[in-house]
């Protein structure tokens, strides 16, 4: 049952005041934008990107209006369910479509639209030489609309619609350059693994419907505390499965690395800042369900902890800059999931970290895109080096994002991540072992994060250049083989969003943490959590974190700046090699799931063809065979026919006699 938390502080009201009634517009603007761009086709190629940008910015403006509207209400009254239309009036299942406007959803709306608009702007320049730029913007708008449906839905079913929508948009965007086979394969992989997670959400919906009689938040969250633990645990685990699929947590994490096949703005928007955070949103939104299922919460925490370490280890061995950032995303979301599993003390920090992570990770990805742009789409960091001189703006913004993700004070990551580590050290339900185990994991994870992010930063921007500058100099300052690179700074349309995001990376954390603004802001949703005492004092935790971070930086500095980075990856020890292969995640998936699945399908197909069809064709064949045999009775000879007739006559006479007597 509930531990140390109160129920929702806000009563959800269906009486919607006027600025908040604009919520549907948030979804409609990008949706209409996507529709126009897709239907107009090539005609809109010249101005399509501006329309997409305008739709995204418009949604942001409406989001700000919603924020202002909410701020104008009292804290207790900041939760509104706006009914849109009757959707599925089917007897017991009576679902209506509506929007839930409360601090949590508005936070997400602002994050998605703001970061989304910046990335739209970035894409105008990044995709300038691509003929399909208009289609790209159509898909981006589609994604934004679907994500907004997801976060604004007032029922799990409508959330599922948005859930599927972002999955679709992700598929379309990962495979944007579909003519390359590997891009299409990556898109398919992402979609299918998402699908596996969706099974969880569907089963959860079924369980909710069967046990609670409804799937909207109001109904479910009202009845969850009173339901049996078995039901709530089941629902919780199913929701967790869905979250794992969408947020690339273990065991459904294998698609995120391959998803980097899409254009970099896609990686920045979808696979760093927004879509992958939908899982965290789901868990936090379903807080009443998880509150009623402590076992499910424990599983959530375990999943978060495992993924956190998994992503960190994999990220330390990746030489592809985007894949390293993807592993980092996986790890950071692990932090968020871990926090969300801790209960009321963690919800707010999970969302806080989500917001700050959205800024700095998007900034890091855009920076990586800028580096790739300058290095002719090269992604191998072993071919970078010393780029700080050539791409100053990128270097600075990337560096600020780097410091933020490390959690160095006073940058924004420090405020959110350290709070998570602190919350991890708080014993839940009085169980100290949990505090020690998960707290230590989170702490050590921070150290590894520092190491691999610093590695990434140093390999790219510092040290000697490991690329051919075409100068032909033989002074040993760099290799003279390979294609000639001319690294240069990116155009303004690309650097401007990076600057904005860097500012956010620096300041946003401090701003929101000042006076616990953010936590208080989220209280109508998460409930007021009592402050628990961590097993180690808070200041000690901060110090330990910083020590580990500095150790990580130092190690990376020594290895990648002081020492020369080999251009060809060295063989490495077993762990490095395993990490390069993503800790064999693909092999595990293939052998555990794919091969048995193929065996099953092949068996079924074989059974269908041989047994079922075989029975029918066998029957037909038998009939044919019999017919062929009996055909020989038609000898054509009159005399054999006469014999047959006579025989029949005798039989008839005998039968008649037998009957008569």
């Amino acid at each position: 049952m509930l531990q140390g938390a109160q129920l929702l502080a806000a009563e959800v009201s269906t009486d919607v005041p006027s600025p908040i009634g604009l919520a549907p517009l948030v979804i409609l603007l990008p949706l209409v934008g996507a529709a126009v761009l897709l239907l107009a086709g090539r005609r809109s190629d010249r101005w399509g990107h501006w329309l997409g940008l305008a739709a995204s910015v418009g949604a942001f403006v409406v989001g700000v209006v919603l924020l202002v509207g909410l701020l104008g209400q009292d804290a207790e009254a900041r939760a509104y369910d706006q009914h849109l239309f009757d959707w599925i009036p089917a007897g017991t299942l009576d679902v209506s479509a509506g929007l839930r406007v409360d601090p949590l959803s508005v936070t997400f709306v602002l994050l998605v639209t703001f970061v989304g608009s910046l990335i739209h702007l970035y894409s105008v320049a990044y995709m300038e030489h691509d003929d399909d730029r208009r289609r790209f913007f159509a898909y981006l708008n589609l994604f934004v609309a679907a994500m907004l449906v997801l976060v604004l839905a007032d029922s799990y079913l409508l959330l599922f619609v948005g859930w599927e929508g972002v999955g679709l948009a992700s598929y379309l965007l990962i495979g944007f350059w579909y003519r390359e086979r590997k891009n299409a394969v990556a898109a398919k992989k992402a979609f299918i693994m998402n699908r596996v997670g969706d099974i969880g959400l569907i089963v959860a919906l079924m369980l909710m419907l069967a046990n609670f009689g409804g799937v909207d938040f109001a109904t479910v969250h009202a009845q969850a505390p009173a339901a049996s633990t078995g039901i709530t645990t089941a629902i919780g685990l199913m929701l967790l499965l869905a979250a794992c699929g969408k947020s690339a947590q273990v065991p459904l994490q294998a698609w995120l690395g391959d998803a980097m096949a899409g254009p970099t703005p896609v990686s920045a928007l979808i696979h760093a800042a927004t879509m992958v955070t939908a899982g965290v949103y789901l868990v936090v939104r379903s807080a009443p369900v998880f509150e009623a299922a402590p076992d499910a919460q424990l599983v959530v925490v375990i999943v978060g902890a495992v993924t956190l370490v998994f992503g960190a280890i994999v990220g330390s061995a990746k030489d592809d800059i985007k894949k390293a950032l993807a592993a980092s995303t996986m790890s950071q979301i692990g932090y968020m999931i871990l926090a969300a599993g801790l209960g009321p003390i963690g919800y707010a920090f999970a969302i806080f970290h989500l917001v700050t992570h959205g800024f700095f990770k998007a900034g890091l990805f855009l920076g990586a895109g800028s580096v790739m742009h300058g290095m002719d789409d090269q992604v191998d960091m072993r071919r970078f080096g010393g780029l700080s001189r050539y791409m100053k703006v990128t270097f600075v913004t990337f560096g600020l994002g780097w410091l933020a993700i490390l959690g160095v004070p006073p940058f924004s990551g420090f405020w959110s991540k350290d709070k998570i580590i602190e919350a991890a050290f708080v014993p839940v339900d009085g169980q100290e072992w949990r505090a020690w185990v998960f707290g230590t994991v989170a702490l050590v994870g921070a150290g590894i994060t520092a190491y691999y992010m610093s590695r990434l930063f140093f390999m790219t921007f510092t040290g000697r250049r490991r690329w051919n500058d075409g100068s032909g100099s033989l002074d040993g300052t760099g290799p003279q083989d390979g294609p000639v690179r001319h690294p240069h700074e990116s155009p303004a349309l690309m650097t401007a969003p990076m600057v904005v995001l860097a500012v956010g990376s620096v300041a946003l954390g401090g701003l929101l943490a000042w006076g616990d603004t953010f936590v208080t802001w989220l209280e109508p949703v998460t409930g007021h959590a009592e402050h628990g005492e961590p097993v180690l004092p808070a200041w000690l935790l901060i110090v330990l974190t910083l020590v580990l971070v500095l150790a990580g930086i130092a190690l990376a500095w020594r290895q990648y700046t002081v020492q020369a980075v080999p251009v060809v990856a060295p063989h490495g020890n077993a762990l490095t090699r395993a990490a390069r292969r993503d800790l064999y995640q693909d092999d595990v998936n293939e052998n555990l799931v794919m091969l048995p699945g193929q065996v099953v399908t092949r068996t079924l197909v074989h059974a269908d063809r041989e047994v079922v069809d075989g029975a029918w064709t066998g029957l037909a064949g038998t009939l044919g065979l019999l017919g062929d045999r009996w055909r020989r009775a038609q000898t054509g000879y009159v005399r054999s026919y006469a014999a047959t007739m006579l025989g029949g006559l005798i039989v008839i006479v005998v039968v008649a006699l037998a009957l008569a007597s």
């Binding site: 014999a643 006579l646 006559l649 006479v653």
Partner: protein
């Protein structure tokens, strides 16, 4: 029913069975036909013995006299000499045939043997003759059937005509065509007029003596071609010489008148000269 009839039956029945078996086993079709004729005549006798004299006569006249003769005529057309080989070609047909035949006989015989028949009434009636009784029934109860049977017979006759009709494959050669052909054959030694009837120009009855035409010349065609080829044709001189010899031998004592002088051998010589 009477002993006479008994004797008749027991004499005829085995013979009939034997004849029927003869039909079964005869190699030549004509033998089989004769066996069947025997069976039918025996049957006619039996009919007469069973108070059916009309039927018995009809059996002989129609069945034996017409139908079986028809069979024999067709046999003649088809090939009197043709004899069936008794080797069976369809596999197992012999055994099936024998089996079924015996089976049929057994079944039918069994049926009859165990059936109880009422005592025979007999059809001999002192009031009217058998044909009259039959006629009453035939033209009374069965008049419609009889008419139909009449139509059937007509149809059968027409059918036989139609079935055996042979289409002529060449155009019909009529009088005009024959005359034209004769005229066309004239240059190559054909004759226009038909040959004279035999004996018109004959001088005597012998086959090897040629006839003389109106101008006294012998006609080669009047002697058989074979004799001509063999060179056995007699010349007219030889004929007259022979005649003369015979006449001289048997010359009667009578006055020689001028007509006898006319029969001078010089005349003949003259003829011979002309002949030469």
């Amino acid at each position: 029913m009477s002993t006479g009839e008994d004797v008749l039956f027991w004499v005829l029945a085995p013979l009939m069975v034997l004849a029927a078996l003869g039909l079964l086993f005869a190699r030549k079709a004509v033998h089989a036909a004769v066996c069947v004729v025997f069976v039918m005549i025996s049957l006619a006798v039996m009919y007469i013995a069973q108070d059916a004299p009309f039927l018995g006569v009809v059996q002989i006249v129609v069945y034996t006299g017409a139908v079986m003769m028809l069979f024999l005529f067709v046999l003649m057309l088809v090939g009197v000499d043709a004899s069936d080989s008794l080797v069976e070609t369809i596999r197992g047909q012999r055994w099936i045939g024998v089996l079924l035949g015996l089976g049929l006989g057994a079944v039918l015989g069994g049926v009859v043997a165990q059936a109880t028949f009422p005592p025979a009434v007999g059809l001999a009636s002192p009031d009217e003759e058998n044909p009259v009784t039959l006629a009453r029934v035939l033209f009374g109860d069965y008049v419609f059937a009889m008419e139909v049977v009449g139509v059937l017979l007509v149809t059968a006759a027409v059918a036989a005509l139609v079935l055996t009709h042979r289409r002529s494959l060449e155009p019909r050669v009529g009088q005009k065509e024959t005359a034209d052909a004769k005229v066309a054959a004239l240059p190559s030694g054909g004759r226009l007029t038909p040959l004279p009837a035999p004996g018109v120009y004959a001088r005597n009855n012998a086959m090897d003596t040629p006839a003389l035409d109106a101008s006294g010349r012998p006609i080669p065609e009047s002697v058989s071609r074979i004799l001509r080829i063999r060179g056995q044709e007699r010349s007219a001189t030889a004929i007259l010489a022979a005649e003369h010899e015979v006449l001289a031998d048997h010359e009667p004592t009578r006055h020689r008148d001028r007509r006898d002088d006319d029969a001078h051998p010089d005349r003949v010589t003259r003829t011979t000269d002309e002949e030469a």
